[in-house]
């Protein structure tokens, strides 16, 4: 993983640390696990709420996926490395500025999906 080299343009230092912890783990983690992981290598430990805020923001940005498990959320990275996150965040941030994207992610409604399926013809 290239998370060390290209310290993400789309990520702040704390966000990068959270992402590194999740990439290293390779399984979904709860905020508690991430706090433990980060604080293991830190002189001044971070508060639980600080890390939780960062992770909530990352989930909102579409960088982390989260699923509810019991009383709390489990988080997993949606992108393989910082380069991918950086590209994604540039597209999201400047998508309406000066580029032509093939199509925006839009969560098609079922009627439009059905019309596209019909266009795809019988072989599909």
């Amino acid at each position: 993983m290239a998370e060390q080299g290209a310290a993400g343009r789309g990520l702040g230092p704390l966000e990068a640390e959270v992402m590194s912890a999740l990439w290293r783990a390779q399984v979904p983690l709860a905020v508690r696990d991430v706090v433990a992981e980060i604080n293991a290598g830190r002189d001044a430990p971070l508060a639980y709420t600080t890390v939780m805020t960062v992770m909530t923001r990352l989930a909102h940005k579409g960088v982390l996926g989260r699923s509810r498990s019991g009383r709390h959320y489990m988080y997993a990275p949606l992108a393989p490395d910082t380069a991918a996150i950086a590209v994604q965040s540039v597209l999201d941030e400047f998508g309406d500025a000066a580029l032509a994207r093939f199509v925006e992610r839009a969560e098609l409604d079922p009627r439009l999906q059905a019309r596209l399926r019909r266009l795809m013809g019988p072989e599909q």
Partner: protein, 285 residues
Amino acid sequence: MSALVRRASAWSAWLAFGLIMAAHVGLAVLAVIEVVMLGWLTSTWFDLVAVSVVLASAAAGLTAAAWVAARAVRGSRTLSRLARSSRAPCPSRIMAAAAGLGPGPDIEVVRADEPFAVTYGLMRPRILVSTGLAEALSVKGIAAVLAHERHHVRHRDPLRLLAVRLAAAYGCWLPAAAWLARNLALRRELSADLAAARRTSRADLAAALLRLASLPACPALAAARSAADERRSLEARVTQLEGSQPRRTRPAMGRIVASGGTIALVTAACMCCAALSQALPGGLL
């Protein structure tokens, strides 16, 4: 022939817009001179209103346009730097799809799971795709996407889109400006879709649209841009693929009326500013 007429009318519309904008900015400068030379206190309230309308509309337009231009340049630069720094080897499926289309512009590839394809670059347009695109689509589907993007490259669409957005930003005080920009942008997409469907096939393009548009919208993005606009644009593209003319939309009647009213107000204010200049020592006009 009709293409020639269309091109001529588009150019004359742009020329007219440029002239009107130049006149507007010129009058705003004149308004500043008038304020400085004549002084606010000696003017009538009528003059004051006219001068402030001209100044406010020109200042709002120029600020918004500068903001759009700065974002466009920054976005293109960042993307180009990223494409260079995190360039990935081109997946064989993408190479096969590009080869099937014949010689064309280079394709930049970045490693990302999310499948996407964009054309960017104001002066030198180029295509950027993710490695995820190779996994998400068949070779034929990738070819349809690339044919669509090649059309954008051939027509320098990033630059065209910027021109449209700059014009809309300058007219940001007109309620119908955003609608106009959206429509012109949609026309570029429709034209690229037509080219792609002709070069590959409707079925391949439909498959690619279905796969890439079905991804869940990014929550931050959904808030920033109107999801309803995105849906309307997709609707028009599907309608065109089905072989019918996409329904022409029109901005809400209220917006048309409000825009017309605003234009009338600003025009009247501009004329008032021009007339006011006769009071200047030496008579500027």
